[in-house]
């Protein structure tokens, strides 16, 4: 029996899954079991293309789930939009979970029928930056990479010929590589908003590297875990106090780092300079609309207020599109960084948006994407 609040350490029973998947393949096995036992109709997983590319697929095929890739730090995709309109189980970083819940608030995802296996996340990297970093910092040919891992603040790459090379993340970020900007100031590292919160933090002793720590966050989580145990896909044991303490420790170190970096990433801009700052940042916008398309919390279709009243014919000093978006997302932006990732003019949209949304959210003591009790728009209840 799994109960809400349980903390366990577990791994997949299947030898193949255990060795293939990261940290004992528990997550993969839980997802496979959910599909097998009919808890869900589909599973969203990342189909492996290469070490730097994976594509989210929606599958009802257990084999495809088992063959899916483990966590890839350099494939920073947000999965929420792929779950829209379906009954799925899915793995999810904390920001994926936030986006799924925000979509749930907008009636795009039926959260009662969506099972979210959360994954701890210390941050992700852009694939091209990673490739460049491999060449410049690690002296490794990106083609030779077969695996990566973050341990004790170091980023480790494994190559075909069995070598490993580790460099401290601090050092990498100093050199302009490392995690995406939005990951650096993120402080949601353990997906406490998911149904299950899984990760390798707190997996100690001989289990280290071969098992996953898993916390049951709610009834759905209990159902997921129980289902996988019943299906014989996983084996779990209660986490020791020491394991729990270590997990908390790692988490608080990561959170502190995020808070510290936030100050660095968002330097104060004097009142009288801000308008010019925003104009300069946005002057190269080519109106592609990718930031809206990729946004995992936006539920609008192609036509929406931000696009309908924005026209290339206007010669405004600021973009109507961006102003409306800044406004509409000020309550719900989760700063996942997708918009910055896809901007063809390299506008740091996430950072700009965060300058509006973070203070707005903090002032109201509100963090989007944490639970369904808080409304999608402050408009209604948060008075």
């Amino acid at each position: 029996m799994a109960n809400v609040g349980d903390m366990v350490v577990g791994y997949a029973t299947d030898e193949n899954v255990r060795s293939r998947g990261a940290s004992g393949g528990l997550v993969t096995a839980v997802l496979a079991a959910a599909l097998e036992k009919g808890l869900v109709e589909n599973v969203v997983v990342m189909k492996h293309i290469n070490e730097f590319e994976a594509v989210p697929i929606i599958t009802d095929n257990v084999e495809e789930v088992l063959a899916s890739t483990g966590s890839l730090h350099s494939v920073p995709v947000n999965l929420a939009k792929y779950a829209v309109g379906r009954k799925v189980a899915m793995p999810a970083k904390p920001c994926d979970v936030q986006a799924v819940i925000e979509q749930g608030k907008r009636e795009m995802i039926d959260l009662d029928n969506t099972y979210i296996v959360g994954l701890n996340c210390g941050g992700s990297m852009h694939p091209i930056t990673t490739k460049k970093m491999l060449v410049e910092m690690y002296d490794i040919d990106p083609e030779d990479v077969i695996g990566e891992e973050i341990e004790k603040g170091k980023l480790i790459f494994k190559t075909k010929n069995g070598e490993e090379k580790a460099i401290a993340i601090d050092e990498l970020e100093e050199a302009g590589f490392g995690r995406r900007e939005s990951c650096r100031f993120c402080t949601l590292k353990i997906p406490v908003n998911a149904d299950l919160a899984c990760g390798n933090w707190g997996v100690i002793g001989d289990m280290a590297g071969n098992a996953t720590f898993c916390q049951v966050m709610n009834e759905k989580g209990a159902k997921l875990l129980e289902n996988a145990i019943e299906a014989g896909r996983i084996e779990v044991q209660p986490a020791s106090d020491k394991a729990i303490a270590i997990r908390d420790k790692v988490n608080s170190v990561m959170e502190d780092l995020g808070s510290y970096l936030e100050k660095e990433i968002f330097p104060e801009i004097p009142d009288e300079e801000r308008m010019q700052y925003y104009m300069d940042q946005m002057e190269n916008c080519i109106d592609c609309g990718a930031c809206k398309e990729v946004c995992p919390v936006c539920a609008c279709g192609e036509d929406s207020k931000c696009t309908m009243f924005h026209s290339l014919v206007d010669n405004y000093k600021m973009s109507m599109y961006h102003l409306v978006r800044f406004m509409h997302l000020s309550d719900s932006c989760i700063a996942c960084g997708q918009c910055s990732d896809v901007c063809p003019s390299d506008i740091p949209i996430t950072l700009l948006q965060s300058r509006f949304s973070i203070p707005s959210q903090r002032r109201r003591n509100y963090q989007p994407g944490m639970n369904l009790d808080t409304p999608p728009f402050f408009e209604v209840m948060l008075k």
Binding site: V55, C288, V313, D314, N315, V342, P344
Partner: protein, 486 residues
């Protein structure tokens, strides 16, 4: 049907932006980002984001009636068999493999495949590879000085971030386009004769320009000369996804440009035209004129994956699978071979049958792919700038801007795809002079007709009007129009 996910390349220009096309259970398309694509890091421009609107599916037709593809191929074989003077056109809007297949048909008909850019004819062939292939896109970011002869925002938007990065790395950007560019350090207007002295280019500089079917050969030569004398690198952008591939794969000898083809049709020397993903109604500046010309053909055989306007005029349409679904490869401006993940060979197989029916070779995708790899990849294993091998050329002065209405070519215009570009650009002086009302219209009249357009105000030189959309009043790259308030 399950959702299909295709790894493919944006057909908007020859930067070769990688992306995914997802086709859902109902056949609806969405674009998804492929962040590991080195040309674009998964980023896409306005055109790329609107690709689902671009991919309209063509239908095979014979004499105006719907037909299946086999019947269309058969009809085309019957029409073309024994026909002399067949002209073939493929501008580079499909895969290397299909282009090679098309070339086989040309072989069978004893003719060549024209890629439509007339400027090539007038430039020594040793220069062609350098025009065809540019420099690695990453190199732009490390240039010291960049001279821009294109408007990157409108024409090749994925260059914008490269240029911004260059600027961040210390480059100076000089714009010679007609619109003041945000990212340029200097926006200048210089007589071509003075480029050498005024622009301050050296071996650490890059000239970025473009060449397209309407380019003025003299200006191309001028810029090549400029690169030769200053030691600067030069990069020719092109409007079609596989422009680089088709120029490296094709025979350059005996080719003629789009305008020559149209002239040929008009003077009756061309009676039969076969095109591969090349819609002359879209490609020519004035659609009505182009339509009038094409009417004069005896036979127009269109092989295409797009439901373009020319299909309606064609004697035969051989409809192939959409570009994203094709098995095949493209070569982008930096010389990178980019592969589609699609596995369909409908187009190639149809061309093989056609070739065979015309007495030529039969072939399959694999054969064409190997051939492509042999002839292209062997030479260009990794993107690298190849030094110019030609000599400084004699040039005449480029044709003076003969009109005040300038077409700023962009992907939407080449595909004649609807966009929010239903306006022209003027400057504040023109607003004052004509007494244009805010939110009102401007009337443009040329020999070709008259049109009322919305307008917007930007910093552009006095007297000029820019359009990013094909207008019925346009007759060429520039058109003389009379502008009035409505």
């Amino acid at each position: 049907m399950k959702e299909m996910i295709y790894q493919t390349v944006c057909p908007g220009c020859n930067i070769g932006c990688g992306l995914y096309i997802r086709e859902n259970e109902e056949g609806a398309l969405t674009v998804d980002f492929m962040k590991s694509s080195s040309a674009n890091l998964g980023k896409l421009c306005r055109f790329g984001m609107k690709l689902p609107h671009h991919y309209s599916k063509a239908t095979s037709m014979v004499d105006g009636k719907e037909a299946d593809i086999d019947a269309a191929v058969k009809a085309a074989s019957d029409k073309l068999k024994g026909t002399r003077n067949v002209t073939m056109l493929a501008v580079g809007a499909t895969t290397n493999e299909e282009h090679l297949g098309f070339t086989k048909i040309a072989d069978a008909l004893g003719t060549v495949v024209n890629t439509g850019i007339g400027a090539y004819e007038e430039i020594p062939s040793e220069c062609h590879p350098s025009i065809s292939q540019g420099i690695p896109l990453d190199d732009i970011e490390n240039a010291g000085r960049i001279a821009l002869f294109i408007d990157p925002y409108v024409q090749y938007p994925l260059l914008v971030r490269r240029l911004l990065a260059a600027k961040k790395n210390g480059a100076t950007i000089v714009s010679l386009t007609c619109c003041d560019l945000n990212l340029a350090d200097e926006n200048v207007s210089i007589n071509p004769a003075d480029y050498k002295t005024e622009l301050g280019l050296d071996s650490n500089s890059i000239i970025i320009t473009d060449v397209n079917p309407h380019s003025d050969a003299e200006q191309v030569k001028n810029l090549l000369n400029l690169a030769l004398v200053t030691g600067s690198k030069i990069m020719f952008m092109k409007p079609f996804v596989n422009s680089t591939g088709v120029h490296l794969l094709g025979k350059s000898a005996g080719q003629i440009g789009l305008h020559d083809i149209m002239d040929g049709i008009n003077d009756g020397s061309i009676k039969t035209l076969v095109t591969l993903n090349s819609d002359l109604l879209e490609l020519m500046p004035n659609t009505a004129d182009a339509a009038e010309t094409l009417e004069k053909l005896d036979d127009l055989v269109v092989i295409t994956s797009i439901d373009g306007p020319v299909n309606e005029m064609a004697t035969i349409v051989i409809a192939t699978e959409p570009l994203y679904a094709k098995a095949g490869s493209f070569m982008n401006v930096e010389g990178q071979v980019l592969n589609n993940s699609g596995e369909s060979t409908v187009g190639i197989d149809a061309m093989s049958t056609l070739s065979q029916n015309l007495g030529g070779e039969a072939f399959d995708f694999q054969a064409m792919h190997s051939k492509m790899m042999e002839s292209v990849v062997r030479k260009f294993t990794a993107p690298k700038y190849s030094e110019l091998e030609c000599k400084v050329m004699e040039t005449a002065a480029p044709a003076e801007n003969s009109g005040n209405l300038i077409s700023v070519y962009n992907p939407f215009m080449w595909c004649n795809q609807t966009d929010d570009n239903d306006f022209v650009i003027v400057n504040m002086n023109m607003v004052d002079k004509l007494g244009l009302q805010k939110g009102g219209m401007i009337s443009l009249t040329s020999d070709a007709g008259s049109v009322n357009m919305r307008y917007t105000v930007r910093d552009i030189p006095d007297g000029l009007i820019l359009t990013m959309k094909k207008l019925p009043v346009v007759t060429g790259n520039t058109t003389e129009v009379k502008a009035e308030a409505v």
